[in-house]
């Protein structure tokens, strides 16, 4: 019953927290404890999947061909673990900074529940249900913990744009069900090979748009900067580190496993869109001053890398997409959590995050970038290699720019800090920052587990995909 355990931990806690005032310490501590237990359970589950292969349980004890399955393979497990860890760190930071809203703990735990369920389900429709649970919690978080000014407007636009994405996804699920006659992911993948090619292309494009919106890819990115700028840094960390994983996972699951031929067919378009995302994100980031705005555009750029990896395809490309997504989620969390904190330790932690994003060893980001280069070499795509190199160089430029702008100058009296966020931070906040930085470093020094799991995930995708 290990697979159901994270859900069984998070669900009752989320219910109980909904009735408590989240601004008080106990609520925050219960939320942290629940997220910590869930993360630990997912860690054990991850180990079990790595050793014994995919785990599954059928809800209600039904026979497997009728019941709804909870199913986890290496791909789902690594994303679930990363997401839970990111939410744990962000929640800890939120509590350390003093929660500003009574709904933050419960919404965070509900979001964790939705995301965990989404990564652990083997059923297309329950994927949608969990996905909406996570998204609705996110809409609530923007309203509760937004900053002054246009926070509601940013939240409203965020909700509207993402809802259009969600409904497109729902329509695509209906169409997929019509085309294959089942909702069970493995069975869908098996039957997807026989779908009429025209239908399959339409389906693939709809799924691509739906997940592109979540990921904040170039043509669908408009909502992203204003939202990341309009919320507290720890909420932005949740969005960039946890919520954006839906997009990457969805593209891998629905593109890589269910519609791989369409993915191959659209590879050029996908790489071009990814490239445009990378360049656009980087150029916009260079032209911005405010740290969180730079990071928001950097998130758009880094969504592009996942897409390029997916477009390059093959086992190496898929491995790269997984490794890069995980490393990127951790990097973004670290950067957002430390972006407004000052002091020696926080400067170092931010620097570690920045170097990791740029891909300097020893950091988690190095292996993300390295696996991308490997995928580029494997696909013999000079264009992709040039793109990765240029993207990396631009990343260096804007991160160095904000680092020296924020931390190498004495701050003038009354300087531009419109939300009064920049502080030395409380000791607990600094501890969280240091711990996340250490995780990024440790993953950089000892990346074997991550690489092994990513290899396993890629192999699993190849095996399940219809050929």
């Amino acid at each position: 019953m290990l697979i159901a355990l994270p859900i069984l931990i998070l669900f009752p806690v989320a219910i109980a927290l909904a009735l408590m005032d989240g601004r008080r310490k106990p609520a925050g501590i219960i939320a942290i404890a629940a997220l910590a237990f869930a993360t630990a359970a997912l860690g054990v589950l991850m180990a079990k999947v790595a050793i014994d292969g995919p785990q599954e349980v059928v809800a209600g004890g039904w026979s497997p061909d009728v019941g709804i399955r909870l199913r986890v393979d290496a791909l789902g497990a690594i994303f679930a673990l990363t997401t839970a860890a990111v939410l744990l760190a962000s929640m800890a930071q939120a509590v350390a900074a003093g929660c500003a809203s009574r709904t933050t703990p419960t919404l965070t735990v509900f979001m964790a529940l939705g995301l965990t369920g989404l990564f652990l389900t083997g059923d297309v429709f329950s994927f949608y249900v969990f996905f909406e649970l996570a998204m609705i919690s996110a809409y609530g978080l923007t309203a509760g913990e937004g900053l002054a000014g246009g926070r509601f407007r940013a939240g409203f636009i965020f909700a509207v744009v993402n809802l259009i994405g969600s409904f497109l996804f729902l329509i695509a699920i209906g169409a997929l069900y019509r085309a294959t006659g089942t909702l069970e992911m493995i069975e869908v993948a098996r039957r997807a090979a026989e779908i009429n090619p025209n239908t399959a292309i339409l389906l693939a494009v709809t799924f691509f748009v739906a997940f592109g919106v979540k990921l904040g890819l170039f043509p669908f990115h408009a909502w992203l900067p204003s939202v990341y700028l309009g919320v507290q840094p720890h909420i932005a960390a949740m969005f960039a580190g946890a919520l954006a994983n839906i997009g990457a996972y969805g593209l891998l699951r629905f593109g890589g496993v269910i519609l791989p031929r369409e993915l191959e067919l659209g590879a050029t378009a996908i790489i071009v869109l990814g490239g445009v995302s990378i360049v656009y994100g980087a150029i916009q980031a260079i032209s911005r001053r405010e740290t969180r705005e730079v990071l928001a555009y950097s998130a758009i750029g880094h969504a592009g890398y996942v897409l390029v990896a997916l477009g390059l395809g093959g086992p190496v490309g898929l491995t790269a997409a997984v490794v890069f997504s995980v490393a990127n989620a951790l990097n973004k969390t670290l950067l957002f959590l430390t972006s407004e904190l000052r002091g020696k330790f926080m400067a170092t932690a931010f620097l570690i995050g920045a170097l990791s994003v740029a891909g300097v060893p020893p950091s988690a980001g190095f292996f993300g970038k390295a696996s991308l280069f490997e995928a580029g070499i494997d696909a013999e795509s000079i264009a992709a290699l040039v793109l990765l190199f240029v993207g990396g160089a631009l990343t260096f430029v804007y991160l160095f720019q904000i680092y020296q702008h924020d931390r190498w100058r004495p701050r003038a009296e009354g300087e531009y800090d419109r939300d009064n966020l920049i502080t030395a931070g409380r000791p607990a906040q600094r501890t969280v920052g240091v711990i996340v930085a250490l995780v990024v470093l440790v993953l950089g020094l000892w990346p074997q587990p991550l690489l092994a799991v990513a290899d396993q995930a890629a192999a699993q995708i190849e095996q399940e995909a219809p050929r």
Partner: protein, 146 residues
Amino acid sequence: MTTSALTRMISRSLLAPTLIVALAILVKGYASVGDGFSAGVVAALGILLQMLAFGRDQVTADLPIHRAPLVAMTGLFIGFAVLAVPVLTGGAPLEHWPPPDEKPIYLGTVELITAVVFDIGVFLLVLGSCVKVIDALAGAAAEDDA
């Protein structure tokens, strides 16, 4: 906003029947049309009618509206219990009781099965959250009028 005495009288006398119809829909769901969700919506509509006829202040004074979140979360928790209890006893999540081929316990014509418990949870959840939404929107409207 004022309503006529007739409207108020009719809506007052409609509250109890609405709730009874809601309960009927809930328990009949296993033999005929109905389920916890529609029952919850019907009951919430009963409350909405009171709000429209008497205004929010009056209804909040008469009925325990402020308990709505508690009701909703109790319902959600019942749903969770149906999910979790079978796991604790070694089964699959959401496993049905009684198992196939076993006779359920009858309470009149109502079968006592897990699905009924789950639907009561759904009923409470829907009732609680609908009332809370209605209350929040009514409260916002009242504040804007003031």
